[in-house]
């Protein structure tokens, strides 16, 4: 079977000016590959600022003008060119954006959802979509500023799922929603996937991710550091990379323990393992190697020389 979405060796750079006309290139995503097959929910988790949203935006071709993308993005086996994505986005490929600022503040919810269409069929479709997420007809008459954070989220999700999409890119769709609502929404994503859609689910909520996803991809400093099966998150011993383990231990119910330090800023990356600054099992070899390869390991993939070592606690 052909993947719905196939990303091959994607790299994203930003060109920035500093001190007058001195230009500088910042690499924010390096050599990223990812596949989503029909019927699959792939969760992307990882550090804040590791490039998760940029990945979403690069698929939809809505990155800022000073960005430069290398690598290939294939949709349904064919290259996703700017002309093609422009035709497909909003119908076959949809985005649930992260920020509620993506709603037009000057347009009523109903009007902006329907994108100008007024026929009864479209109206009915969006009424059903809103209703599915617990929003009544009265919501259509509200302006975005009158919505609560959770309601705005649900409006954006309704907007994305009312068309029958083949690829949904959901960029943190659940913050601000209570567990019941979040579960319902992801249950619906699961249904869409079971009908043959592919879903890229960007999230910080590992618990939700492991419930709904088939695979979980973990990002750190613009790279994939681990690909795990969803069920691996049930037991920390099944996780491969020390950062993934650190995420697990930081969950409020698993100890709420933070590791010290923070992810290196794109301009300050050194050679060797990028997680070295926060890793408690870091060895000299981890710093000396030019790059650490992403390699198959124990049914998943990992970018670490000594995976599964304890010492994170």
């Amino acid at each position: 079977m052909e993947p719905v979405l196939q990303i091959k060796h994607l790299s994203i750079d930003f060109t920035r000016y500093e001190r007058g006309t001195k230009r500088r290139r910042l690499t924010v995503i390096r050599d990223l590959s990812l596949e989503i097959y029909p019927g699959q929910v792939v969760a992307v988790a990882g550090a804040s600022g590791s490039g998760k949203s940029l990945l979403a935006h690069s698929i939809l071709d809505i990155l800022p003008h000073n960005s430069h993308v290398e690598g290939e993005i294939l949709y349904d086996g064919t290259l996703l060119t700017p002309e093609r994505i422009e035709r497909l986005r909003g119908s076959e490929i949809v985005l649930v954006p992260q920020g509620v600022s993506y709603l037009d503040p000057l347009m009523k919810v109903g009007t902006q959802l329907r994108k100008g269409k007024k026929d009864p069929g479209t109206k009915e479709r969006y009424r059903i979509a809103l209703n599915r997420y617990g929003l009544g007809e009265e919501t259509e008459e509200l302006y975005p500023f009158e919505l609560s954070g959770g309601m705005a989220r649900r409006v954006m999700i309704a907007s994305a799922s009312a068309e029958s999409p083949r690829l949904i890119i959901a960029d943190e769709p659940t913050p601000g929603l209570d567990a019941g609502t979040a579960g319902r929404i992801l249950g619906h994503f699961r249904e869409l996937a079971d009908e043959g859609a592919g879903i890229l689910f960007i999230t910080h909520d590992l618990e939700l991710a492991s419930e709904v996803a088939d695979r979980v991809v973990v990002f750190y400093a613009g790279e994939t550091i681990e690909e795990a099966r969803a069920e691996d998150f049930a037991d920390v011993a099944c996780l491969r990379h020390p950062y993934t383990k650190a995420l697990w231990y930081a969950m409020p119910k698993h100890g709420f323990k933070p590791v010290q330090g923070s992810q290196p800023y794109p301009g300050q990356l050194r050679s060797g393992c990028h997680f070295a600054g926060q890793c408690e099992t870091c060895r000299e070899e981890c710093l000396e190697r030019e790059t650490i390869p992403l390699r198959p390991y124990d049914g998943g993939r990992v970018r670490c020389l000594y995976p599964k070592e304890e010492g994170q606690v």
Partner: protein, 204 residues
């Protein structure tokens, strides 16, 4: 110190059903109160009223028995918002926004891992998680006595969440600050709060 809400009623449009009806709540210094309710029940609205952004149609907000609006200078009750990208001026460099009401303690920037370079950048150039740390630094002024945290960590990765909460708890302890914590994450509320309330409060 004591932050009190007395019989707050608020609706966004005149004549429409109030989002909050006769809500009372008090938080003393050093207390960390968790607030939970389904989406759309007025959690953020209650925070806005407590921080003085909106005026309730009925009821009063008192800090040490004095109306909040009588305090001059930066408000002693500060709010941190659910959507950091909506509460910073998109046309100002972040350094300027940060110094809006005076200099910020350098220690705060270090503790929150805010890079010096960020201060020269515009909000659109930072990720949601980076912006939120920046909003925390802005709210934690020396004069801040109460912090209202409206779902402040859901957009951060778990390690950063844990780091920020450890930092906030320590800071609250050190200053004897009171916190109101809005979250949908029960496990988080249990970890950080001294008591948990659910909206609508059962009126006596």
């Amino acid at each position: 110190m004591m932050l009190e809400a007395k019989g707050l009623t608020f609706s966004y449009r005149r004549g429409s059903t109030p989002v909050l009806r006769d809500i009372s709540l008090s938080i003393s210094s050093g207390e960390r109160v968790g607030l939970k309710a389904p989406s759309g029940r007025g959690k953020t609205t209650l925070c806005r009223l407590l921080a003085g952004y909106d005026k309730p149609q009925k009821g009063r907000v008192l800090l040490d028995s004095r109306p909040l609006r009588e305090y001059r200078g930066a408000c002693p009750v500060q709010m941190i918002w659910q959507h950091p990208e909506m509460v910073v001026d998109p046309l100002l460099r972040l350094g300027e926004t940060l110094r809006e009401a005076g200099e910020i303690d350098k220690r705060m920037l270090d503790e929150l891992h805010i890079e010096d370079g960020w201060l020269e950048r515009y909000p659109a150039e930072l990720s949601g998680g980076e912006l939120q740390r920046f909003c925390l630094a802005r709210a934690l002024r020396p004069s801040t006595k109460y912090l209202l945290c409206d779902e402040i960590s859901a957009m951060l990765d778990l390690v950063t969440q844990a780091q920020i909460w450890h930092f906030l708890l320590e800071e609250a302890e050190r200053r004897g600050m009171g916190l109101l914590v809005v979250s949908h994450d029960d496990a988080l509320l249990k970890r950080v709060c001294t008591r948990i309330e659910e909206l609508p409060f059962t009126t006596l």
